[in-house]
């Protein structure tokens, strides 16, 4: 059976080279990096090597700024809560957007229950933050600005360098959630004025079980997982050496191949959208058009008159792996906060599908997906009482209404 994996945004296979690099670290080199003996010191050297690989990939001159966590979510929690706890003597106000990943949004919501306050700047219908809104939200109490680099639902690339400049002018710490961007989009922590940047290697052919938070020398954070003195007291707990080794190599390779990979997935993205929009009626793209301002791996569409889970299941039955709503939380099938933030009509949010492309997808696969998905939409519409009502003229199309 044909199998097409179009959910690279939720996870990717570990590269063969990365896999090979990890293998010795399970049963042969198994020391705890805190230990003072050959096994432990070897592990410590491996950590240092990975710190270099990560810091170089984001143009940082400070490998010591790399803090290893267990995943992107934890890195984001550390950035948000760690900043809040470290800077609460200066103020207790945080600025984010309405379209952050739940790991940022829910960390901020947690802090709000513990005496902090937050301003959520809006995004427009394509998901863009207006840097002027950030500027306007800054108060003398503001200690942190946190925004994503590329949106995990609709691929919108934010003007992070502009926001960084504003943050610097106001001497406010700036955290960029680059969990969906690192490995795919260029990152330069200096130029972006990023005090903190998070990275998630399993999005670019590295392993699960490792996340990274990079902190520049001026940024202040407190650890949020307390215990031993690992990661210079910024993250306690025995380090996951194999995943860190694999993650570091995946980062290095992703950076080397970044432009090649990005231009390939962008071509696939364009072909996919062209195919879908030509063969399916009442379908719309969410987020910016493919191009400079959209993550090349993400295609988010809404197909009117049908619901998301049925599409996922029929795609799966056709061997096609896709996501719906939020790529990270499709299990609960509640529509994603981003879709609400861009003001997407509720029925379009429910019919939402995210195709996310990977470096190994082919043009033939895209053709197969277009053909299959067209049939799936037809089939579900045949079953849908809404489609029937629309055909009979009882209800009108949200998408057609907008196009007029």
């Amino acid at each position: 059976m044909t199998k097409v994996y179009l959910d690279s945004q939720s996870s990717t296979p570990v590269l063969p080279e990365v896999y090979e690099a990890m293998l010795p670290w399970f049963s042969q080199y198994y020391g705890n990096a805190s230990a003072m003996h050959e096994q432990g010191l070897r592990a410590r050297a491996a950590l240092d090597q990975a710190r270099k690989q990560f810091s170089e990939a984001i143009q940082s001159s400070d490998p010591e700024g790399v803090i290893f966590t267990s995943c992107g979510t934890e890195a984001n929690n550390l950035a948000v809560k760690g900043s809040a706890y470290a800077l609460q003597h200066k103020g207790r106000h945080i600025i984010i957007s309405t379209a952050e990943h739940p790991s940022v949004e829910n960390s901020v919501a947690f802090l709000e229950r513990h005496g902090f306050s937050a301003t959520r700047v809006p995004v427009n219908s394509e998901g863009f933050i207006d840097p002027a809104d950030i500027q306007a939200a800054i108060t003398p109490e503001t200690i942190l600005i946190a925004t994503h680099y590329a949106n995990h639902d609709i691929g919108t690339i934010q003007p992070v360098a502009q926001i960084g400049t504003i943050a610097q002018e106001h001497k406010v710490q700036y955290f960029i959630d680059a969990t969906f961007s690192a490995g795919w989009l260029p990152i330069n922590v200096e130029e972006m004025n990023a005090s903190l940047v998070s990275i998630s290697p399993h999005r670019f052919y590295g392993p699960k079980g490792v996340g990274v938070l990079h902190k520049n020398r001026k940024a202040r954070i407190n650890g949020i997982i307390h215990g031993g003195i690992q990661e210079n007291n910024r993250r306690s707990g025995t380090e996951n050496i194999p995943a860190i080794v694999g993650g570091g190599l995946a980062m290095e390779l992703a950076e080397t191949e970044r432009e090649k990979r990005a231009s390939r997935v962008k071509a696939l993205q364009e072909k996919l959208w062209k195919g879908l929009s030509e063969s399916i009626s009442y379908i719309q793209l969410n987020g910016p058009r493919p191009g400079e301002s959209r993550h090349p791996a993400n295609l988010n569409v809404s197909t009117e008159f049908i619901e998301g889970e049925g599409q996922l299941l029929l795609c799966n039955a056709a061997g096609i792996a896709v996501a719906s709503g939020s790529s990270c939380v499709s299990k609960n099938l509640k529509s994603s906060p981003t879709l609400t933030a861009i003001g997407l009509h509720i029925t379009l949010a429910q019919g939402n599908i995210i195709f996310s492309l990977g470096k190994d997808n082919t043009f033939e696969q895209i053709e197969y997906v277009v053909t299959s998905f067209t049939k799936i939409v037809e089939r579900l519409r045949q079953m849908s009482p809404m489609w029937e009502d629309f055909q009979k003229g009882n209800i009108s199309s949200v998408i057609a209404g907008k196009e007029k």
Partner: protein, 142 residues
């Protein structure tokens, strides 16, 4: 292998992938539509009911998730051949049991199916008040 990894059990998957009685009925004797797009599910059930008060045919159309589609499919199967009185007694639990179970968060789909059947029957009874009286009598005497 794909069969092993599904969010629903094989009966539910079968009713989702090969729905029974999907579509409309020309000259339906009763039609029930429940749910709302904003809530994620709409179910429409059409019934053909013979003069002796037996459901001779049933069809569904559903906007909703896999278990909503499977629940509608199963509900139409359950009521086919039943009398109005019997069909009125079909509960969401009967639908869930016949499907071999649904995940806890999806039980509402079976409730919607029960409601759609009831709505279709009520529509029929509204159009046939003489039968409504009979049903009422019967169920009282039951």
């Amino acid at each position: 292998m794909a069969e092993e990894y599904n969010p629903y059990n094989p009966i539910v998957m079968d009713h989702f992938l090969n729905p029974r009685n999907m579509g409309d009925l020309e000259d339906a004797d009763g039609i029930g539509e429940v749910g709302a797009a904003a809530c994620g599910d709409i179910m429409k059930i059409s019934l053909k009911i013979s003069d002796d008060g037996r459901i001779s045919d049933a069809r569904f159309k559903t906007f909703g998730c896999g278990s909503a589609i499977a629940s509608s499919s199963m509900a139409t199967e359950l009521v086919k051949g039943k009398t109005i009185e019997e069909a009125l007694k079909v509960t969401n639990k009967n639908v869930v049991d016949a499907l071999g179970g649904l995940p806890p968060v999806k039980i509402h789909c079976s409730v919607l199916a029960e409601e759609a059947i009831k709505a279709a029957l009520e529509d029929y009874l509204k159009r046939h008040p003489e039968k409504a009286a009979m049903v009422a009598t019967n169920s009282h005497s039951a």
